[in-house]
């Protein structure tokens, strides 16, 4: 256990601010990227492909070809789903050598993996909106098992998974764990 925690706290605060600035500044372009990737994946699984996702600032507007024209389109706030990048950058910032090649590589790998988690979270959330929030349309198109499954998935991510995933990815990609794996080999 380190005798002086202040350097770690200072590095953590810097990482928190850096992650926060990144998350805030890139929220709109990142929303467009998430919309594009998630829409492509969802349409691959649909017969016929009907889902259209459009980024509106940091929000995702969900549309389907079979929605009535006059009905309002549901939206999904992406900032709630992606705030875990702040936790990830903070955790990597408290490393003994935060700017070392290994730590930066770990951060990049962790961030890329987190982007995959975000795409999955968007798909699960859109499906939970389809399954639970569109009244009679939801009941017509989703059975009780599917409604529970998508609803629980979205709830799990919003309550625990969002930050649990950031912690798990940090644990996997932090330099000491990479060193330990190399040593074990």
């Amino acid at each position: 256990m380190p005798k002086n925690l202040w350097p770690s706290l200072a590095k953590g605060a810097a990482g928190f601010l850096a992650g926060f600035a990144l998350w805030w500044a890139l929220s709109s372009p990142y929303a467009r990227l998430l919309a594009s990737v998630s829409e492509t994946l969802m349409r691959l699984a649909e017969r016929p492909p009907v889902t259209r996702l459009a980024a509106d600032g940091a929000e995702l507007v969900i549309d389907r070809d079979d929605f009535p024209r006059a009905s309002p389109r549901p939206g999904l706030l992406l900032m709630d789903l992606t705030a875990n990048i702040i936790v990830l950058t903070t955790l990597f910032a408290v490393a003994r050598h935060p700017l070392s090649d290994r730590n930066i590589a770990g951060l990049l790998l962790g961030s890329l993996s987190l982007a995959v988690v975000h795409v999955i979270a968007v798909i699960v959330n859109v499906q939970s909106i389809y399954a639970l929030r569109l009244g009679a349309w939801s009941e017509r198109n989703y059975g009780p098992v599917a409604r529970n499954l998508w609803g629980a998935g979205a709830h799990f991510y919003s309550v625990i998974g969002v930050f649990g995933s950031a912690f798990a990815l940090w644990w996997l990609f932090r330099p000491s764990s990479v060193e330990n794996a190399a040593r074990a080999r």
Partner: protein, 161 residues
């Protein structure tokens, strides 16, 4: 191995709190206690704040404390990490108990300050709610876990993966 156990622990604990009976009989009453605590804490600094069920109220603002805001999620994350980590049962139980108290105390500060922000600076309330306080509570939970692992299981920390 640690990550697999951690993810399994998170899913298992989530499955427990997601049960309707557990939610209605344990989580909601606990959230009401947390809400009363946060209202009580804020009452030290300003008058006219009270709690009704899971809602904190004043004449200007109301805040409904829901799942995800009652600190239970941070405790679950922490408990999943502590139980996934190689250590004795005694040190795990001490870790989860002490850490849960610390997280809940921090959560009282979080809820009181969010309510105060909602009352006086509504425009930045969402921002602090989503980005700042959520991250800080989770980071506090992770920091407590790391400190616990240094204190009780320094050797396994370096070796676990």
């Amino acid at each position: 191995m640690f990550v697999a156990k951690f993810c399994g622990g998170m899913l298992g604990l989530y499955a427990v709190i997601a049960l309707n009976q557990v939610n209605d009989r344990v989580v909601v009453p606990f959230t009401e206690v947390v809400t009363r605590g946060a209202a009580g804490l804020l009452s030290i600094f300003e008058s006219g704040v009270w709690a009704a069920g899971t809602v904190m109220r004043s004449s200007q603002f109301a805040l409904d404390v829901r799942n995800g805001c009652n600190g239970v999620e941070a405790v679950i994350l922490l408990a999943a990490a502590i139980f996934a980590f190689p250590a004795t049962l005694r040190s795990r139980l001490i870790g989860v108990s002490a850490a849960s108290v610390a997280i809940q105390l921090l959560n009282l500060v979080r809820l009181s300050s969010l309510f105060w922000l909602g009352e006086h600076y509504r425009r930045i309330f969402d921002f602090f709610h989503v980005a700042v306080w959520q991250s800080l509570v989770i980071l506090a939970a992770i920091s407590i876990f790391i400190l616990w692992s240094w204190k009780f299981a320094e050797k396994p920390l370096a070796e676990s993966r």
